[in-house]
């Protein structure tokens, strides 16, 4: 029970942070997504199946509270958690010791998240806009990955 309640409570704190505080640090409309960071870490630690189920429900809460299109967050969070789950290892410290895994898993999964989340909010994606969606997803995933790397600022024994 504790394993479910605490992560959900953490997400309820992260969503207001994402919607209220994070816009202050946006650079040219690009913001990191702290809820996504948490979901991806969850998937890295717990594996693909737990990760995608958790991401699916968090996506629903995110869609409802952020007033986005219901379903767009569910789809994007689930897909990105699935990709992150590929890099799951029983011993999480192994992942932490290998920064390349964090960078690669976060870049690929967050790129998918931002791409699908933006595309689902659009009624019609015109050919000339497709490239701009990819560019936006790329920069957002870089920003999110850099943010995720801040875990290295914590003392290693506390993680």
């Amino acid at each position: 029970m504790k394993k479910i309640v605490i992560p959900v409570l953490i997400v309820f704190i992260l969503i207001p942070i994402q919607l209220i505080l994070i816009p202050f640090i946006s650079i040219y409309n690009i913001t990191p997504n702290v809820v996504l960071i948490y979901v991806l870490f969850y998937s890295l630690i717990r594996g693909q199946i737990s990760g995608i189920i958790f991401a699916f429900f968090i996506g629903f809460i995110y869609d409802i509270l952020s007033a986005g299109l219901i379903g767009s967050g569910m789809f994007s969070f689930t897909l990105s958690a699935f990709v992150a789950g590929y890099f799951h290892k029983e011993d999480f410290s192994e992942i932490l010791l290998n920064g390349k895994i964090i960078i690669f898993s976060f870049m690929s999964s967050s790129m998918l998240f931002f791409l699908f989340y933006s595309i689902f909010g659009t009624e019609s994606v015109r050919i000339e806009n497709q490239f701009s969606f990819v560019v936006f997803a790329f920069y957002s995933s870089i920003y999110t990955t850099l943010f995720a790397l801040s875990v290295y600022l914590f003392p290693r024994n506390k993680l």
Partner: protein, 274 residues
């Protein structure tokens, strides 16, 4: 056979689960405009907005003098724009008497308390609602120009769809050449699609809300023409517009409490709910 199915399921249960969850998400996505879903969303955003407001008030300080100046600026901006329009009308030798004078704008100051920044889903929450006479479809602006439109209200909070949301379509006009069109967010810029290539439009032309819109009052500044791109046939072109208002950095905005006929109001609300 059963063993084979079980083996397949065991081997690829992650993929099967992913497939099921993605299908459910897509089904929900297609149903997101249903009234029941909208109702859930309204209750959820109203309760979340209380949190957001609390959070927001902890991190920002009120400056009444600045707020007063911003209201004044927004009113002046609307008046200047009206005057520009009069000048064009005068130039075209239209009778000014036919134009109903309207200089008193009822602006309700408010603050954006939460933002959902995405490439295409620009939705904000503001801290006034139906109790402050805010209604669905009222325009939101700041001292630079149009910011968005109210799409949902609760007692104390309202949901705003910003102009940087690709699902918002605005009836717009380029007053210099009297060109009308529908403007929408493309992901990077506002675009007026399918304008005849022969239309006299130059870089730097102002774009404002048109008189044809029953949702937005006319002459609210939207942005400046920055580019014109012809399509393959060469008959029609897309006009790219840079918005005046920097929607993402907007914090203090105003609701333009426009009073309209109840008949028009009910018609446009029907259009919005579609």
């Amino acid at each position: 056979m059963e063993l084979f199915v079980r083996k397949i399921f065991k081997k690829s249960k992650e993929y099967i689960l992913l497939f099921i969850l993605l299908i459910i998400s897509l089904i929900i996505l297609t149903q997101s405009t249903r009234p029941e879903i909208k109702k859930i969303r309204r209750y959820a955003f109203a309760s979340f907005a209380v949190w957001a407001d609390l959070f927001n008030s902890t991190f920002s300080s009120e400056n009444t003098e600045l707020n007063k100046l911003q209201i004044e600026n927004a009113k002046l901006m609307l008046q200047v724009n009206k005057l520009r329009e009069y000048a064009f009308e005068n130039y075209e030798l239209k009778s000014l008497l036919k134009f109903k004078a309207k200089s008193d704008y009822n602006l309700i100051p408010t603050t954006i308390i939460a933002k959902n920044i995405s490439k295409s889903q620009g939705v904000y929450i503001i801290n006034i609602g139906s109790k402050d006479s805010v209604r669905k479809s009222m325009p939101i602006l700041n001292e630079s120009g149009l910011v968005g439109i109210v799409i949902e209200t609760s007692e104390n909070y309202s949901l705003v769809k910003s102009i940087e949301s690709s699902t918002l379509k605005i009836s717009a006009n380029i007053p210099r050449s009297n060109v009308y069109g529908i403007i929408s967010w493309s992901g990077d810029m506002l675009v007026m699609h399918n304008v005849p290539t022969t239309a006299d439009i130059n870089k730097g032309d102002r774009v404002v809300t048109s008189v044809l819109s029953t949702i937005f009052p006319p002459s609210i500044p939207i942005g400046l023409v920055v580019e014109r791109r012809s399509n393959i046939s060469g008959l029609l072109s897309d006009i790219f517009v840079q918005p005046f208002a920097n929607v993402n950095s907007a914090k203090n905005v105003f609701v333009l409490a426009s009073v309209k006929s109840s008949q028009i109001d009910s018609l446009e609300l029907n259009l919005l709910s579609q």
